[in-house]
């Protein structure tokens, strides 16, 4: 890597982003890469689109100089936390985009973003029916899961009878 102060990330379609390495100090994936392969020109980030990576990097930039202790990886969001207003952009995001950011946070191993997106996902699922959840996050799985799902629903009906 010619410039140790910056890092270049390449998305799956070849789009490149060059950012200060300090932005990504909370990404375990990037830190591991810098340690083991930091002499290479660029780090490939597979399965992440340019749009999503750009959003992730903006998140990293906003939080680059936060002084809070890094979260453990993987983040353990067992309890809801108080979201930072600087991250409000994630609240208004369409469901499919939020899903992609959740995946990207996991791929890049950024515990703070994992925690944030997981909490936003949970808040959107809250109070929804199975059909609504399918429509929000998993529409392409419907055809594949139809038969199995029907069987499962019958079984769950039995479970539901426990408390009836």
């Amino acid at each position: 890597m010619s410039d140790p102060a910056n890092i270049t990330l390449v998305t799956m379609d070849g789009t490149t982003f060059t950012v200060p390495s300090a932005y990504l100090h909370r990404s375990k994936l990037v830190q591991d890469w810098l340690r083991s392969e930091g002499d290479k020109q660029a780090m490939e980030v597979k399965h992440v689109t340019p749009f999503v990576l750009q959003g992730v990097l903006n998140f990293c930039e906003i939080h680059a100089e936060d002084t809070s202790e890094p979260l453990a990886d993987p983040a353990d969001p067992t309890k809801p936390f108080e979201a930072d207003p600087r991250d409000d952009a994630f609240r208004g995001m369409p469901d499919d985009q939020l899903l992609q950011f959740t995946m990207a946070a996991d791929i890049l191993q950024i515990p703070e973003l994992v925690r944030l997106t997981a909490q936003e996902m949970a808040s959107r699922i809250d109070g929804k029916s199975p059909d609504q959840i399918r429509a929000m996050f998993n529409p392409d799985d419907l055809a594949e899961e139809d038969v199995d799902s029907d069987n499962e629903m019958g079984e769950v009906g039995e479970e539901g009878a426990i408390s009836k």
Binding site: M12, T18, T49, R86, V114, R134, E152
Partner: protein
């Protein structure tokens, strides 16, 4: 995500191949959820709306997790273990009906026998059992007749017998006062549970003083795997058997002792010494003989890895607790336990600003500081050096809810006053809460109001700004230094302006002047050196409070 902008990122447009790739990506099916991500989301869901459910409740209210279990194969396989991990024989009347218990037993047997065929064995998911008093009587209703009680107890025992040896990780017992009068009915609980707990990690036992011989035998069989124990004596407070053996458990690192009046200081000192460096959490709640300097000295000398310390004395109770604690030894604990992240002191009468000052400058890992029922001596005045609180995120200091500044009891005590803890002020809330306490301590509010009120009800704040805007106002300061120093290009700054603009349009916006003021606050905090604020705005917490009040008042001017 239209308002997330490229900002300072160096962005190279994609090549044609990349464009094609991107289009392909757009029409691709989304990747399946990584299981670990989905499980994280489910674990969060188990807290909506804040109750840790067991299986009865999940099914009764058709919980979020139950909905998730019906979305797809993958979701189901991850949600079911969370739904079925906890058998809670206590939640409501439903769980006390023998018909329900029989149906549950039948379901579990059926699931187990079809496990190879279906791939799901609900029995195997059970990791925790709750046996609490309401099991044994209808919640808010009369106690079950003895015959029904025996039948319910038998139903529960039958279900427990279906579980595999060593299967259970957590157990919660909650024995009723009349337990000792029905020993024959309940003895089987203990006999059935003991073989299940070879891998037990956490035990919560309330009502120890009623447990009699059953309890004594049970405690002799605690496994070496136990890491966390919470013991509550109940109303009686006198445990009829020794508990010294628990401290010898080799993995025990979290201890909570509540209302155990016959545990002596010497016994706990010995126990703390035995646990030594492995002790991570210690909570003592209203144990008559355990609030003294000897305990604190032992903690300071032998528990360097302690992360959580809670000392809670209940004020106004009919069982007064003798306090022989000095600030000196509390400071000694702060100095010695360098990993202390949570400190909760409730009803400790010796606390003054000297302790607060020492804590502020020396508790370097502290994240959460709670001081409940603080007396007037603790005002925050003179606390100037807060260099130790670099990681502090939460601080709550509240007045006694029913004791005024002169330690007189207030007859018309308002239980709602505790709601001050729900005030959400973001990173600045600690300063506000503390200074609010200081404000009260100066006596500007009369004695009948000297208990803590919700901040939004503070006369100065309430008159000048809506509570919701106040929250927003103080949260803004959490912008990072980089976003402030590069005001003209920072996406965060642009988001901030966008947000203000949006609020203007909605009638809630801040004027240009308010924006400037807000930025001023940002600049103050961006140094990440709280001492600067203290030096600039009055020298101590009371001064910061005044500054913030003034800022809010300026904000509210037309």
């Amino acid at each position: 995500m239209s308002n997330l902008r490229t900002g300072s990122l160096e962005y190279l447009p994609p090549n044609p191949e990349g464009d094609i790739g991107r289009k392909r990506q757009r029409i691709q099916r989304p990747l399946p959820f990584p299981p670990e991500v989905l499980e994280r989301i489910f674990r969060l869901l188990s807290h909506y709306p804040g109750i840790d459910y067991g299986i009865f409740h999940h099914h009764q209210i058709h919980s979020n997790l139950l909905s998730c279990s019906q979305v797809s194969h993958q979701w189901r396989s991850l949600a079911l273990p969370l739904i079925w991990c906890r058998l809670d024989f206590w939640r409501d009347e439903e769980a006390t009906r023998s018909e329900t218990l029989k149906r549950l037993a039948s379901f579990l047997i059926n699931s187990h026998s079809r496990a190879v065929e279906t791939g799901v064995d609900h029995l195997a998911f059970v990791k925790r059992i709750d046996l609490r008093a309401p099991t044994l009587r209808a919640l808010d209703g009369p106690r079950l007749p003895a015959a029904d009680l025996a039948e319910v107890a038998l139903g529960i025992t039958n279900i427990l017998q279906l579980l595999s040896p060593n299967q259970i990780r957590e157990i919660e017992f909650y024995l009723p006062e009349w337990y000792s009068s029905q020993p024959n009915v309940f003895s089987n609980f203990f006999k059935t549970v003991v073989p299940l707990m070879g891998n037990l990690m956490a035990l919560r036992f309330t009502g120890l003083s009623y447990s009699g011989d059953d309890g004594a035998k049970f405690f002799q069989q605690l496994p070496d795997t136990l890491e966390k124990i919470s013991l509550n004596g109940g109303i009686g407070g006198e445990v009829p058997f020794p508990l010294d053996g628990i401290y010898a458990l080799p993995k025990l690192s979290k201890i909570q002792l509540s209302r155990l009046d016959n545990i002596t200081s010497l016994q706990l000192q010995q126990g703390v010494r035995n646990c030594g460096a492995r002790l991570r959490e210690l909570t003592i709640v209203h144990c008559r003989l355990l609030f003294n300097d000897l305990i604190l000295e032992t903690i300071a000398d032998h528990c360097p890895n302690l992360t959580t310390l809670r000392l809670n004395v209940e004020i106004g109770t009919l069982r007064p607790t003798v306090q022989q604690i000095t600030e000196h030894n509390l400071c000694h604990v702060i100095d010695s336990c360098q990993y202390l992240t949570l400190l909760e002191l409730s009803g400790i009468s010796v606390l003054t600003n000297a302790f607060l000052a020492h804590c502020a400058s020396n508790a370097r890992r502290l994240r959460y500081l709670t001081i409940r029922n603080a007396f007037a001596e603790l005002s925050g005045q003179g606390v100037r050096d807060v260099s130790g609180w670099q990681f502090l995120t939460d601080i709550f200091i509240t007045r006694p809810t029913f004791v005024d500044a002169r330690r007189n009891f207030i007859s018309n005590y308002d239980p709602l006053s505790d709601s001050c803890q729900t005030v959400n002020l973001g990173p600045f809330r600690w300063a506000l809460m503390m200074c609010y306490a200081a404000h009260l301590g100066r006596g500007s509010i009369n004695a009948s109001q000297s208990h803590a009120l919700p901040l939004s009800q503070h006369p100065s704040l309430c008159s000048c700004v809506a509570a919701s805007r106040l929250c927003r106002f103080f949260l803004i300061e959490s912008l990072s230094p980089s976003s402030v120093s590069g005001l003209n290009r920072s996406p965060a700054k642009e988001m901030l302006i966008d947000d203000f603009q949006h609020r203007k349009e909605g009638g809630m916006g801040l004027t240009e002047r308010r924006e400037e003021l807000t930025i001023c606050l940002v600049v103050v905090v961006r140094s990440h050196a709280l001492n600067n604020i203290f030096g600039q705005y009055g020298g101590d917490l009371v001064g910061v409070y005044k500054f913030l009040l003034r800022a809010v008042e300026l904000c509210a001017q037309p």
